[in-house]
Symmetry: C2
């Protein structure tokens, strides 16, 4: 399933990597695309939306 | 010796860690203090100033 999140606080490539790895922690197969300027994170994953959002939040970013 | 660098491009804690680790790559004993808002990196190290600056640059940050 395709999930789209608005994520605030990603300021650099390290942040993109941190968010990607957090999502892969929930689902190692997750496909992640990030548009940092637009604050958009797109995730193709079979995991529950709330589990993905929680992983982003636990990494220290705000999911709008 | 105490070295002070003005470093541009550090936007988050990951950047601070990356710069710190780059400096420790040159001198594992280096003591590093970073004031990100002020763009200041202070390094206590016996390594040559240019080696420290080069490590910061190679990590992708601008040393002014
Ligand atoms: Cu960052
Ligand atoms: Cu950063």
């Amino acid at each position: 399933m395709e999930h789209q999140f608005t994520v605030e606080g990603m300021t650099c490539g390290h942040c993109e990597k941190a968010v990607t790895q957090a999502l892969r922690g929930v689902d190692p197969q997750a496909e992640v695309r990030i548009d940092r300027q637009a604050q958009q994170v797109q995730v193709r994953s079979s995991a529950a939306r709330e589990a993905l959002a929680a992983a982003i939040r636990e990494e220290g970013y705000r999911v709008a």
